[in-house]
Symmetry: none
Subunit: 216 residues, 4 copies
Amino acid sequence: MPHIAPRKPDAEKTRQNILAVARQEFAEHGLSGARVDAIAARISTTKRMIYYYFGSKEGLYLAVLEQVYGGIRGLEQTLDLDRLSPIEALRQMIEFTFDYHEQNPDFVRLVSVENIHHGAHLKQSETLRNLNSTVIASLATILERGRTAGLFHTDIDAVDLHMMISAPCFYRVSNRYTFGTLFARDMGAPEVRERHKRMIADSIIGYLVGCATIAA
Amino acid sequence: MPHIAPRKPDAEKTRQNILAVARQEFAEHGLSGARVDAIAARISTTKRMIYYYFGSKEGLYLAVLEQVYGGIRGLEQTLDLDRLSPIEALRQMIEFTFDYHEQNPDFVRLVSVENIHHGAHLKQSETLRNLNSTVIASLATILERGRTAGLFHTDIDAVDLHMMISAPCFYRVSNRYTFGTLFARDMGAPEVRERHKRMIADSIIGYLVGCATIAA
Amino acid sequence: MPHIAPRKPDAEKTRQNILAVARQEFAEHGLSGARVDAIAARISTTKRMIYYYFGSKEGLYLAVLEQVYGGIRGLEQTLDLDRLSPIEALRQMIEFTFDYHEQNPDFVRLVSVENIHHGAHLKQSETLRNLNSTVIASLATILERGRTAGLFHTDIDAVDLHMMISAPCFYRVSNRYTFGTLFARDMGAPEVRERHKRMIADSIIGYLVGCATIAA
Amino acid sequence: MPHIAPRKPDAEKTRQNILAVARQEFAEHGLSGARVDAIAARISTTKRMIYYYFGSKEGLYLAVLEQVYGGIRGLEQTLDLDRLSPIEALRQMIEFTFDYHEQNPDFVRLVSVENIHHGAHLKQSETLRNLNSTVIASLATILERGRTAGLFHTDIDAVDLHMMISAPCFYRVSNRYTFGTLFARDMGAPEVRERHKRMIADSIIGYLVGCATIAA
DNA sequence: AATGAATGAGCTTTCATTCAT
DNA sequence: AATGAATGAAAGCTCATTCAT
């Protein structure tokens, strides 16, 4: 097993190289469908190195999952929403989420794959379980500021709000193929994308502002 | 005397038996993860019959997909929404969609699996491509009635509305494991379920009714 | 998995063919040292058949062990010792044991191998655990007859007697290489063999008859 | 100042550390079954040192074999049998052999392993081939003294006598698992051990004293 | 003298599938 | 129409070993 701390540049490079190729393979074919041979065939070192660095196909998959979840969490923290009004901040958050899913279909696919496996690897990885999503804290702050300012009238907690935001952003990408085929809608088309982004933001902000109660 | 049945009762029974077991296996493990041997081990006849009736693993998967998509489409038609007010009809539609996903996780998982495979089988199957979803027609009728009645002020087409409805209903089930683990929320809990159902319906209806424009 | 009962002649032949080759390979190289590929290379069918018939390398090894233990037990029953005097019967038993080990070095090696593995497979196999060795019953009968006739004066039970007989017969074959090399004695030479056979028989019979007590 | 030690204390210590762990591993799993990685995992230095000091897995095995054979030969020389009567000396020799096997199952297992490999390494090692077993000389002396004293009447040479002694002592330990399982006899139990020790000594001494000829 | 990093070759096993009747 | 027997191809993984300093 390789040590963690003092790694040669090349070793780290090889590791990252494997990881990048593996992410594509797992995103493309799922955990069961991915082939270790296929990953090996696309990197400069041999298949043996995959086992040297990651121990097993599942170990590699786990590393990919950790990397990929780390990506979105890292970006979320750079948003700096406090200087915006609650509604602007919320819209910013929604648009970031929308764009991230749109631009990272691999992330979406890998999360889908992990759910097919009952989230077993996510549960198993301490790193992943401890990914204290900053998004919930950010949303909680927005909600509080909005309520204090008398702007939000709907009773919803940060986790449910996160779900309301994530669901359509995720679904547009995850179900692109079946939805697109059945209803002849190209989710990737720029005008569709912009329309959906507005639609999602408007509906959620409107819901929080609270006219929904009138409609009910 | 009805001579319609094209297959012997026993043959049809065997077919259905295989299909039911296969649905579970494919929903549980995905297309690549499913094992023909595992299906064979759980049916009353032999493995050879799977190939006899369905030709290949993919053929069987396709049959499962067709059966499963047929299920939701069939139910959608029984709703009889015309006697309800547009808002009531819409709420009914949303709640039906919510409940169907909640009660048919296999359907949700199989659609996820099919998306991992880029919807290749759905595209390939004429039966599935022709599943002219009645849901779009139903939603179009509701939209039209609501606009005529001056109730809906938001410009949205039936397909996008369908997406807005399906996304949260689907996501709650498809991403149950990762979302549940990361945010410690049990999507299956009855009170969560009822809250989500209300939340989803309220936000969409509120969006259509149109206060969202104020919020923007 | 193949059914047990109605097997085609060819199938049974293939099975026996694999078994025979596997016995040689396991006897020659042990369980860990044996190569499934090496077995496959020497039979007319493919390696795949080994797994078809025996499930795993260990399953095959177990089958070999069962076959090989069955062999000696089957022969033991054909001895018909009751018509001989107790001493003659005992000598017959010893000589049979001696000859069997001498002529079946594979059996000896496989038992050695199994002991290296702590008898794990023997314990695990009901078939083998139930191999109620008839040899113990035979020896018990001889002992009883000899004592009733006033011929045997030494207090020893059938199991210990069996050990006294087996030990030298087994050791001569199992340790042939190290003993032969260290002490420059060719255990396989005919005159050595005959001398040893007499030596072993004489010492055990002498011990039972009882003069040993005088010597002590 | 003693400049004899050819290696640094640390180096020698490392060597001995590796050797001790390797003996356990080879005794436990055999030559093919032993894993270099498993040995490495249990030593204080790295796996690389195994190759540095011993060249190869086989080189390490050979070193273990030499160490282990050296052990019993060294002890045999400390017996000082000349001051005892021939019969007493013989009994002493038998009991020593019995106890040594009983207390050093690793030795027994390694000899079994080496025999599975046709004694190839023993033959190959000059050190081992030159291990001029003092046991044969000791036994020859006892035999001569016993015959001169008119105590032993059986015609047997020292090597065959050594076999008669070693066989049951070795077998009890080497075949402990299979024999124990098949005949439900716990070879390790203290009362069994003592009974066997007496049994073996009595039978061999009795045989030499010569009443066996009467029984024949 | 000592060692961390890397690896080619080959291992057991699994998989969907087809042969042959 | 129905099926038991058989299988080619490739999968994930492990092994003792050596490179390079």
